[in-house]
């Protein structure tokens, strides 16, 4: 530690002296330096005055209300550890893996197969609305999908596993396994279905 600053006691040494814990060197300096003694006296006076300022004590009724408010606030919230697969440390790597998978799939398979547009009845959209033919892909939406997929590919291509790890975004060993285990049975079935559909679409 540097005790002196421009020939006088520095902030750290002065705070140590104010709090009553100091090494011999600053004490020896203090013996012969009027300026530092004055600075120390001023700091001590302010320190004591700040220390003596009490905080108001809330009423017992306030505490009851406070506890009730916190209780209500957390009532609909789950602690993070009970659903680790939703935390960002898990979701970022999962998203990266999903992105990589999509990039591989669509990179090999070219443009994605057109998705049928939803059929909407006249009663749903009003008499003046035209019913959309589910066999005719919406060209604008396909174009949007392609742009999105190109963007996804570009983003995934830029991902560097080591860089993610060093940035604290990597998943620790077993985290992804844990995330999969934590999926509900319905979520696992849906994941398997999606993977099968994707692989079937590429002929893999």
């Amino acid at each position: 530690m540097t005790f002196f600053d421009g020939g006088h006691l520095g902030p750290e040494a002065l705070i140590d002296l104010v709090e009553g814990c100091s090494s011999p060197a600053p004490l020896a300096h203090l013996e012969r330096c009027e300026s530092c003694r004055r600075a120390l006296a001023e700091l001590r006076a302010v320190y004591e005055r700040v220390s003596e300022a009490p905080a108001p004590e809330p009423s017992p009724l306030f505490w009851e209300h406070f506890s009730a408010r916190v209780h209500d606030a957390v009532a609909d919230v789950e602690p993070a550890a009970s659903r680790p697969w939703r935390s960002w440390r898990v979701m970022v790597p999962v998203a990266a893996v999903a992105g990589l998978l999509m990039a591989v799939i669509f990179g090999r398979g070219g443009a994605p197969a057109p998705t049928p547009a939803p059929v909407q009845s006249a009663s749903e959209r009003g008499a003046a609305q035209v019913t959309v033919d589910s066999n005719q892909p919406d060209a604008a939406r396909v174009a949007d999908d392609e742009i999105s997929l190109r963007l996804m590919e570009a983003l995934v291509a830029g991902l560097d596993h080591e860089a993610l790890e060093s940035a604290g975004l990597g998943a620790a060993d077993g985290v992804l396994d844990g995330a999969l285990v934590d999926l509900s049975s319905e979520e696992q079935v849906e994941l398997v279905r999606l993977l099968r559909d994707a692989l079937a679409g590429t002929g893999a």
Partner: protein, 193 residues
């Protein structure tokens, strides 16, 4: 740190250690968190109050601290006490708040201060005014200086613990306390000596 027991507090958790309460919370025992709140609410509220110098904001901030703590209970590793962990969350919540909102200063008669039996009414009024004035001065300090000062003087945390909570070195903690005191000296004026 612990307050008086609430009638609604489930008795089975009253004597349970903090770390075991966390485990119980994570196992779905939400009532265990009520006990955590009861034990630490006063310290967290006072921490927030010292930061913002105003009851309503301090109350909201303290609630936010507990809500954030509940959401991230899985991140509590037990390497420090639960109280210290809550303090860290509290400091972060307060620092985030004070960086976006100017403190609102309390009215002189907003709260009664702790009274001493051997004080005359006039002395109590004078002390109350001094305390309000000092809290207003503290609430005007830059965030890091305020944090270091509040944690050191009012929460009695070690320099090392403050450094950990603020993410700065021990030397920087002392420097912040030093500059906080110097700024307070300027605000107070010559009547301090």
């Amino acid at each position: 740190m612990a307050g008086s027991a609430d009638p609604a507090t489930p008795s089975r958790f009253v004597d349970v250690a903090d770390a075991d309460l966390v485990t119980a919370c994570l196992a779905g025992e939400t009532a265990a968190f009520d006990v955590i709140v009861e034990r630490h609410r006063r310290a967290i509220y006072l921490l927030c109050y010292r930061f913002v110098g105003q009851h309503e904001d301090a109350s909201d901030l303290a609630q936010d601290v507990f809500l954030r703590a509940y959401k991230s209970l899985g991140g509590f590793r037990g390497q420090s006490s639960l109280g210290t962990w809550l303090y860290r969350i509290g400091v972060n919540v307060c620092l985030n708040r004070v960086s976006v909102k100017r403190p609102v200063h309390e009215a002189l008669d907003e709260h009664a201060v702790l009274e001493s039996a051997d004080q005359s009414p006039a002395e109590r009024v004078l002390e109350g005014e001094r305390a309000v004035r000092m809290r207003a001065f503290v609430s005007r300090l830059p965030a890091k200086q305020r944090a270091a000062l509040v944690l050191r003087i009012y929460q009695d945390m070690s320099h090392q613990d403050i450094a950990g909570a603020l993410g700065i070195s021990v030397g920087a903690v002392k420097a912040n306390v030093f500059h906080a005191l110097r700024n307070l000296k300027r605000m107070i004026g010559d009547d301090v000596l």
